[in-house]
């Protein structure tokens, strides 16, 4: 069963913050985040492993609440280059290979 992402779409002005959520009804081992820009292939952002660790680089970070089976992606002080569709992928077991992706969240950052 696919994880559920929210919101489905969000529009920001440059410099604003956003949070994208990913929820699963099943116990998870890991959550993976990808971004796909229009007309391009999805690109890996980060992975969150079981343990509630928060990770991030620059102004994009994420957390994983294993009790709630929920992950959140935080985009701080958004830039035009953040525009794209964000997907979470979930895995129930170690290995991180077979992922089930959510339906995606379309993020648009305007000047």
């Amino acid at each position: 069963q696919q994880p559920v992402q929210s919101p489905q779409a969000v529009i920001l002005r440059e410099g604003e913050d956003a949070v994208i959520n990913c929820s699963s009804s099943k116990a998870l081992y890991s959550v993976h985040w990808y971004r796909q820009k229009h007309g391009e292939a999805p690109v890996f952002l980060m992975i969150l492993l079981k343990g509630g660790e928060q990770k991030g680089h620059e102004k994009i970070s994420a957390s994983f609440n294993e009790k709630k089976q929920q992950s959140s992606l935080y985009l701080t002080a958004s830039q035009l280059s953040y525009s794209g569709t964000y997907f979470c992928g979930t895995d129930k077991s170690p290995g991180g290979s077979r992922l089930t992706f959510g339906e995606g969240t379309q993020l648009t950052v305007n000047p």
Binding site: Q2, H32, F44, T100
Partner: protein, 113 residues
Amino acid sequence: DVKVTQSSRYLVKRTGEKVFLECVQDMDHENMFWYRQDPGLGLRLIYFSYDVKMKEKGDIPEGYSVSREKKERFSLILESASTNQTSMYLCASTNPGGAYEQYFGPGTRLTVT
């Protein structure tokens, strides 16, 4: 740089035709995947392979088959194309248990008329 290439960016086929989509990766990855991407549905796994000649069904394997004769090449086959298989098809590869990152190809936009 890891590179995953797909044989065509755009493909138009007729209903009932047999269709081959090819994917090649150059990083000696063990695992390879085929996804289809449809608006509002995200990426859905069709098949994956964890070794040469090994394959497993994904979440939506009906109407598809795959072939992996060499480690670097993973083919998706539509035995008899139907209009509901019109979609974007993405190939990906990764190594198990490592950095976890899946590397995606540019995609093939398949239209079945």
